[in-house]
């Protein structure tokens, strides 16, 4: 009886969503901090595309076995396929090689934040649902 089965599927997808949005948040924060740095090129992560890539090819993230001491929480997930795009030329209105569009970064920050909250909320509800199912049926 692999009870892990109840954690595959939707919950696994939601977990991936959280991980990707967490990565994107760090990229956005990095862009914002380097808004005035000359020749800094902004980074981006297209979460929706990455989600489709991940759920298309692998239903759940492959767990790689590595050194026990290095194991982060939740096992070692393989995100090497995720593409982080670096803008080579862009908003040259900044004039010094910097490609950070601050309005875009701020709105992306708000949007990413909201979607992270939404996914966390949904995950919470799913866990609550599982607990109810397990306990309520006696």
């Amino acid at each position: 009886m692999g009870s892990e089965g109840m954690f595959k599927g939707t919950i696994s997808i939601l977990e991936q969503g959280l991980d990707l949005r967490s990565m994107k948040h760090n990229l956005l924060v990095s862009n914002i901090a380097n808004k005035d740095t000359p020749n800094y090129k902004s980074f981006d992560l297209a979460v929706d595309e990455e989600m489709q890539k991940l759920t298309g090819t692998q239903r759940s993230i492959a767990l790689r076995k590595t050194d026990q001491g290095h194991l982060p929480a939740g096992g070692f997930k393989d995100y090497s396929g995720v593409t982080i795009t670096k803008s080579s030329q862009g908003v040259e209105a900044n004039g010094d090689g910097n490609t950070v569009d601050i309005e875009k970064e701020m709105t992306d920050l708000a949007e990413n934040n909201l979607l992270y909250d939404a996914v966390a909320q949904i995950l919470r509800k799913k866990f609550q649902g599982l607990k109810n199912v397990i306990q309520g049926g006696s």
Binding site: M23, N34, K35, T83, I84
Partner: protein
């Protein structure tokens, strides 16, 4: 939510913008200073930003393609504006030379005010980023509730 790295990046942004504000304030305060220890009028100063890769154990980031490194920002130096000082004709001025011309600092008030607004905006943007990080982390803690 990988909040530690995000906070450090935003903190570096806040520090850098604050240093920039200090330099701008110094420029504004010295916009008419004609005597300095080095001799000559005060020279306008500016900061140089440089992106600083963060030492992070965020393994997922290092795996991802695109060679993305989380980068903070750092002020690596304060340089002097190479533009020549403003020459004004004012024989009454105690620092006027024999022809009656005074060298005033090459500081344009409008330019400094604009820079000040830009620095403030950048500072606020980083503050917003910190708040966003905090909210996400708190929300993640609620998953178990």
């Amino acid at each position: 939510m990988n909040f530690i790295d995000a906070f450090r990046i935003s903190a570096s942004g806040l520090t850098s913008q604050r240093l920039r504000m200090n330099v701008i304030s110094s420029n504004l305060a010295n916009s008419h200073t004609t005597r300095t220890p080095e001799g000559g009028p005060f020279k306008r100063k500016d900061v140089v930003f440089s992106s600083q890769p963060l030492e992070t154990s965020f393994q997922k980031m290092m795996q991802a393609q695109g060679n993305a490194k989380l980068t903070g920002v750092k002020v690596v130096g304060v340089i002097e504006d190479p533009r020549p000082p403003i020459i004004k004709y004012d024989p009454q001025h105690p620092d006027a030379d024999e022809k009656g011309y005074v060298s005033l600092p090459n500081i344009n008030l409008i330019e400094e005010m604009v820079n000040m607004m830009l620095a403030t905006r950048s500072y606020e943007a980083n503050v917003t980023a910190v708040n966003a990080t905090k909210r996400m982390a708190l929300k993640a803690l609620e998953i178990g509730k």
